[in-house]
Amino acid sequence: ADITVFAAASLGDALSEAAEAWTAGTGHGVTIAPAGSSALARQIAAGAPADVVILANTDWMDWLAGQGLLRDGTRRVLMGNSLVLVAHGAGPNTPEVLAPGFDIAARLGPSERLAMALVEAVPAGIYGKAALQARGTWDALAPRVAQTDNVRAALALVALGEAPLGIVYATDARAEPRVHVLGTFAADSHPPILYPGAVTREAVAPLAALAFLDWLGGAEARAILADHGFVAPPE
């Protein structure tokens, strides 16, 4: 049976590619509806025809579960991601963990902005804020943060040079040639970046949906996701 997947927009390409491979293998079609996690969650609550939901945000998944909108036992973490500090322009990518002494404010210069997703609302922003707090630099940087409604828009600000630095997912930074990675934030400096998925209570093809989720956790899918920079979730 064909299934519809409501997926966080930032999963984008990686999920599409994986879905194509699954379709090729099983003959089941996959329709991916991308949007922000909050919109997806609310829509599912309003009876959206989704078989599978994959969010970039554990809170909204909890919210769905709390309302009994997910099939019991189908929820799992599908992949993980990491947070990086990017700078404008081409340059050597330095995927290593950002040194504790790295002075972001100094690097920013006196009047420039640090691009992030909304720090109270959008997952990438929330993680970024936590990471900066862990480094003890949040209070100094907070007034200089330019927040965007999604992480891709923050990346665009850096790519265009409007902001010299930005905090984005590693997966986003990879595909953007106009930025380079200055370093990765320590994984323990922010809540783990996890992409939970589940079959919805109203799924019309729950078996295929579950099969797709299972397959996403398998090796073939992992390889595709890894190509896009996602990492396997912590066991």
Partner: protein
């Protein structure tokens, strides 16, 4: 390489359909509301006026959210519509059309209202003395005279419907082939690393379509205006 993939083309076709029906369905309501606001003297006129403008004032996401709450399958109106008429708007292209229509409504009403206010009531009075009832005066005098305004309103609505994004994606989500309009598709492509190219192409297509519609309507409005004023 193809200019656009099949999903993108489907989005274009869907957007056209949505914009067309949104405009058409909104027209009679828009006209009625515009007439009420232009000529009516009733308590609650200001309230109605405010209500009509709401979609303009609210962030589109809020409008979409309110639509979801009202017309969603669990929403009060959505449930009634489904039970009584079997009409489902949520997560259908019809819902996208509803969202577009509502977002475009204030633009349409404003344009039509201005046109109605510009009609000389003396001509309507003359029609009444010739035996035309209020309704017929409207159909035979007012309506033809405001035709340019109606066309202008419809075009604004069509253009807005082609560009509407926030309310649509919030209300009916972004399901390719079903509710993924051009703006939603552009959003999806922009979320994907390297998707800017395709997004740009979609922008070009949607601009081309809307420009065509605009040019057509300009031509139409001019013809009508010329017929009316002979200028």
């Amino acid at each position: 390489m193809e200019f656009l993939g099949p999903d993108a083309w489907r989005a274009v076709a869907l957007s056209l359909k949505v914009a067309f029906w949104a405009t058409l369905a909104a027209l009679p309501f828009g006209l009625g509301t515009a007439y009420l606001l232009a000529r009516g003297r009733f308590p609650g006129r200001s309230l109605l006026n405010g209500l009509v403008h709401l979609p303009l004032i609210l962030p589109p996401v809020v409008t979409g959210y309110l639509l979801l709450l009202t017309f969603g399958r669990r929403g009060p109106v959505g449930q009634l519509l489904e039970e009584w008429f079997g009409i489902v708007l949520a997560f259908r292209w019809t819902g996208a059309a509803l969202a577009a229509a509502i977002m475009a409504f204030p633009l349409m009403v404003r344009a039509m209202r201005l046109a109605i206010e510009a009609v000389d009531p003396k001509l309507e009075a003359a029609a009444a003395t010739l035996g035309a009832s209020k309704l017929r005066v409207f159909a035979t005098v007012t309506l033809p005279l405001i035709a340019p305004g109606v066309i202008a309103g419809a075009v604004l609505a069509f253009a807005k419907a082609m560009g509407e994004f926030g309310a649509t994606i919030t209300f009916v989500s972004n399901i390719p082939g079903q509710t993924q309009t051009v703006p939603s598709a552009i959003y999806a492509f922009l979320q994907v690393p390297g998707g800017e190219d395709t997004a740009l192409r979609l922008v070009l297509v949607s601009v081309a379509v809307a420009m065509l519609a605009l040019a057509l309507s300009e031509w139409l409005a001019r013809r009508v205006a010329r017929r009316i004023a002979g200028r």
